[in-house]
């Protein structure tokens, strides 16, 4: 057994986290920054942070993930990291020539109290930021929130430091993307274009972390939201932020700063969350919902009706991030599946409340927890006490799945051992079809593998 020391016996833990269902802020900030065109993310801390985050993102995308670090030493930890960051900014603009550097802090620079606003000002005053180039930044202390918080903070940083209002409103809306795959961002753009919406999507990692093989390396691939578009976001007529944990803060900041009204929705995963997203998009962009979208929705509902029998009553355990888990739970419920166990290391009371709303009416036995104490060890113990038919989460779930012989759907971050997530979306109705196809493959493959010879079926 891979997790041979995990037992049914659940003991209360106050201080020890085992097998976390989250990681720390900076990796989210780094990922969000990659969604700006011509951006080099920069980690203001020890080298290890930058190295770990680049490695995690590289393993997840199988793509180049470039970022620089302030390379703190013991000396800089004592005397402050100002000179390291100013030197880094100078070196990066000289050697790597990005349009923008997106700096995020770390627990190290936060603990010693480095003031990024002041340091970047000093770099500007010292002539280290070339004309027309930008340095944006955000605070991402690793001891608050999770990787999702870090993503949110960097997106808010884009608004805080780039968005401007000229007083003239554009006939355009902002789509602020939650932490999703480049495939999902591409899918959102496809749907919005299909609806004839005029929009700016940010951040946008499509064509950045899914770049084609051309035989030549581009340090700044063609994708990413451009700086002029980010600046102009303050003039757009409305904002639709999808994925509240990752984007609502930025939408609020944009409203406060530039008076752009906003709606925040859940990520469009499954039927109803996508319905709400499409309707909000239609309302804010002032465009109709075309037949093509209605047909996509119909195809998804059609497949669910056709395959009901394989889904009904199946018990599911999930771990991951609130923005994905909430609409996913709703989607599973709509398919008459039973999400019985849910954990997320990302804190926030709203998640618990929303899951209660969703689960209490039909799956009152469900156990769910987020924030403190909500780790994969606890999830595994719940499963040991009463099993499930399906496990959904990032690659770390494979250890539980193998020990307990549970079909395992990889969704979330990081996916280190399979490919496809960066190319095929899980958002929108088409994404719903993909999730459903994967779930059915897993459930039906298990049936094919385990059914007795007389019961083995050709047609299913």
């Amino acid at each position: 057994m891979l997790l041979r020391h995990t037992t049914k016996d659940i003991k209360e833990r106050k201080s020890l986290t085992i097998n976390p269902a989250k990681t720390c802020q900076p990796v989210g900030a780094m990922y969000a920054a990659l969604g700006i065109h011509g951006c080099l993310p920069h980690s203001h801390g020890s080298q290890g942070c930058c190295s770990y985050h680049r490695s995690a993102l590289t393993r997840h995308y199988k793509e180049p993930i470039m970022a620089a670090t302030s390379s703190f030493t013991e000396g800089s930890s004592v005397f402050g990291g100002q000179s390291n960051l100013i030197q880094a900014i100078d070196n990066i603009f000289t050697i790597y020539e990005p349009e923008v550097i997106a700096v995020h802090s770390t627990c190290l620079s936060e603990t010693i109290g480095d003031d990024l606003t002041q340091i970047v000002e000093k770099a500007r005053d010292g002539g280290k930021i070339p004309e027309g180039k930008h340095v944006i930044f955000c605070n991402t202390p690793s001891y608050i929130g999770s990787h999702v918080t870090g993503y949110s903070n960097m997106v808010s940083g884009m608004v805080k430091l780039l968005s401007k209002s000229t007083g003239v409103t554009n006939d355009k809306i902002n789509l602020i993307s939650g932490w999703v795959e480049p495939s999902d961002m591409r899918e959102v753009k496809r749907m919005a274009n299909l609806m004839g919406a005029n929009f700016t999507l940010f951040p946008d990692t499509s064509d950045v972390v899914d770049a084609p093989q051309t035989g030549s390396y581009e340090m700044y691939p063609k994708g990413g939201t451009t700086i002029p578009d980010l600046i102009a976001s303050g003039d757009n007529k409305a904002t639709l932020a999808f994925g509240k944990w990752a984007t609502e803060d930025a939408a609020i900041k944009l409203e406060n700063k530039c008076k752009v009204p906003f709606e925040a929705t859940e990520l469009p995963i499954g039927v109803r969350a996508t319905d709400r997203f499409i309707m909000e998009l239609s309302k804010l962009a002032e465009v109709g919902i075309p037949e093509a979208i209605t047909a996509e929705r119909g195809r998804l509902v059609d497949m669910i009706t056709d395959m009901q029998q394989y889904l009904h009553g199946k018990r599911v355990a999930l771990f991951g991030d609130p923005d994905q888990l909430i609409p996913l739970v709703e989607f599973l419920l709509d398919m008459n599946m039973k999400p019985v166990y849910i954990v997320s290391g990302t804190p926030g009371k709203k998640m618990h409340k929303r899951l209660e709303e969703l689960l209490l009416p039909t799956v009152p036995e469900a156990k769910f927890q987020n924030g403190k104490g909500a780790d994969m060890y606890l999830l595994h113990q719940w499963i040991k006490n009463e099993g499930v038919d399906l496990l959904i989460g990032n690659s770390y779930g494979k250890y539980i799945a193998r020990d307990e012989n549970i079909p395992f759907l990889r969704m979330g971050f990081p996916i280190l051992d399979r490919v496809g997530h960066s190319y095929f979306p899980t958002l929108g109705y088409m994404g719903g079809l993909r999730i459903l196809e994967k779930i059915l493959d897993l459930i039906m493959d298990k049936q094919d593998l385990e059914s007795s010879e007389p019961e083995f079926e050709l047609v299913m």
Binding site: S46, S51, T58, N91
Partner: protein, 543 residues
């Protein structure tokens, strides 16, 4: 790049170095210039290494914690490693190195678990010692482990939580071995500082706790072998067949019990000099056990290393058995080389990795006729490049001074006079101990040696040399492959391997053959690239 047609010599790289440095701000150029050396194996050359990375330059390097927890302690299965800090440090070191281990069906194995105190902002403000204490207690109550290790991270060092004091207290309370490491990420200049801190910690708290004779005629410790992709498993089989008792491996496929017993060995064989030479040195100072440098990467290197170990024990039967194994294994090695070499001969490789791998893997590439035109370490020291002969001339700077040097005294009760005498007698016969010549003397004239390579330098090198393959890590992998140049991960082996020993060499030759000769690179340009009419039509309809 091509070599000089007449002499087959590598070209002088001074133009390239100049072009690289020209891009840098002058202070940076001045500093980097000392870390780029055009090699001449005939003369002594100094290379600047183990110094601070320049902020913003885009380095491969990681941190002290990664070297301590990730590299050295990570591969040991019967210890619960609690990372004291925010969640990320423990998360990123969770199963991301490929240290395999064999705990049997019901042995203790915590390597698939991740333990953290998950420090929150209130803990940072008010201190986290109580939380750490409680976390250790909870880990003990749930798992009853053999030992618990505690790892300090950046903010912990800054707020002044004393992981050593907490460990001592809990060791007393719980009556199992518990010890801490001050391996905050900002210590030193790379992972290397963490190796040293880990070596010190294991030596101080674990080695020597158990005086039981492990038995057997020939007792060996294997140092600096981490069982990536099952490398140790290959080597363990050879030792077993030779009748050698492997007392401990630091730290592939290892247990704490093995470390406790390590001082009962007769010889220390050091594989990765950079990460583990400290333990070898300390075992000799304290117990009189000599050490030799060996290398199991490469078939010839494996044969030489096995012979060197056998020779040490001065036993005819052992030496005969060793020759028998070598002869048997070399059959497959030679047959594979014969097949593969026809497709790999003359191809060029570059390697930027680790603190010994960039040296060791040159052997493997060489065996299939591939030449190393450039190489460098990520976290090596001058002795890893130039040989241990320069040890005394290395200046200790502020970053190294912060890493503790243990004061080792002779352990009279467990002192091996017999081994000291054996060392002297073998030395008289020309047998070399405590030697490592470093990488540079083994590299060709005009090859380019680069320490702590930057992304910019990597780009220029690819353009200039047009290598057939590069060996580096995950962060470099897809960058370099976008150029159409295959990259072999030499930390994780691209999830293949094992690459150690004779079996490993065969695996490596075949894997490299596949990589440099795969057809896919030829499919990169689309067939319509040279048919402008087709391209134009498509562009029109697409936009």
């Amino acid at each position: 790049m091509s070599t000089d047609n007449k002499t087959n010599m590598f070209p002088d790289s001074s133009d390239l170095i100049e072009e690289i440095l020209n891009k840098y701000p002058s202070k940076v150029a001045k500093k980097r210039a000392k870390s780029l050396v055009t090699n001449d194996p005939e003369i002594d050359q100094e290379i600047q290494s183990n110094i601070r990375t320049i902020p913003g330059i885009i380095t491969q390097r990681g941190c002290c914690y990664a070297g301590c927890k990730g590299v050295i302690l990570g591969p040991t299965r019967d210890i619960i490693n609690i990372v004291h800090g925010p969640i990320g440090c423990s998360f990123y070191a969770w199963l991301t190195r490929r240290n395999q281990t064999d705990a049997g069906p019901d042995g203790e194995n915590y390597m698939n678990y991740c333990f953290s105190t998950d420090m929150q902002d209130t803990n940072i403000v008010f201190g986290g010692e109580k939380k750490l204490e409680e976390a250790i207690r909870e880990a003990y109550e749930i798992f009853k482990p053999h030992s618990i290790g505690v790892f300090s991270t950046c903010p912990i060092g800054l707020i002044g939580d004393d992981v050593h004091a907490v460990s001592r207290k809990m060791k007393e309370e719980l009556d199992i071995n518990i010890f801490g490491f001050s391996c905050e990420g900002y210590k030193g200049v790379s992972q290397s500082a963490g190796h040293h801190i880990a070596n010190n910690g294991i030596f101080k708290h674990v080695v020597g706790l158990n005086n039981t004779d492990p038995g057997g005629k020939f007792k060996l410790n294997l140092l600096g072998e981490y069982n990536i992709g099952g490398d140790s498993f290959v080597l363990e089989k050879y030792f077993e067949e030779m009748g050698i008792t492997l007392v401990s491996t630091f730290s592939g496929n290892s247990t704490m019990s093995q470390f406790e017993n390590a001082h009962m060995a007769d010889l220390n064989a050091v594989m990765c000099h950079r990460s583990i030479n400290y333990i070898a040195e300390m075992l000799e100072k304290k117990h009189g056990i000599p050490w030799i440098k060996i290398n199991f990467i490469g078939a010839d290197a494996t044969a030489k290393s096995l012979r060197k170990i056998a020779k040490y024990f001065e036993d005819e039967e052992l030496m005969a058995k060793t020759e028998e194994i070598i002869a048997r294994e070399m059959l497959e090695v030679q047959a594979t080389i014969e097949d593969v070499k026809s497709r790999t001969e003359g191809k060029l490789c570059m390697m930027y990795v680790g603190g010994s791998r960039a040296h060791h893997y040159q052997e493997l590439f060489g065996e299939i006729g591939m030449r190393t035109i450039s190489a460098g370490y990520e976290f090596g020291h001058r002795d890893d490049y130039e040989g241990r002969k320069v040890l005394d001339s290395i200046k200790i700077d502020a970053d190294s001074r912060n890493i503790e040097e243990l004061d080792i005294v002779k352990d009279e009760a467990n002192w091996r006079d017999d081994l000291v005498a054996k060392k002297t007698s073998l030395e008289d016969k020309g047998y070399g101990f405590s030697e490592y010549e470093g990488m540079m003397p083994d590299m060709e004239k005009n090859s380019l040696v680069i320490d702590d390579i930057s992304h910019w330098e990597t780009e220029k090198l690819i353009e200039y040399y047009k290598p057939d393959i590069i060996g580096a890590g995950i962060k470099e992998k897809y960058v370099i492959q976008k150029y159409g140049v295959p990259l072999k991960q030499l930390h994780s082996y691209d999830y293949g391997g094992p690459y150690a020993g004779f079996k490993g060499a065969v695996n490596f030759y075949n894997d490299i053959d596949k990589m440099v000769n795969t057809k896919i690179w030829g499919l990169i340009p689309p067939p319509w690239k040279n048919e402008p009419e087709l391209v134009a039509k498509m562009a029109d309809t697409a936009y």
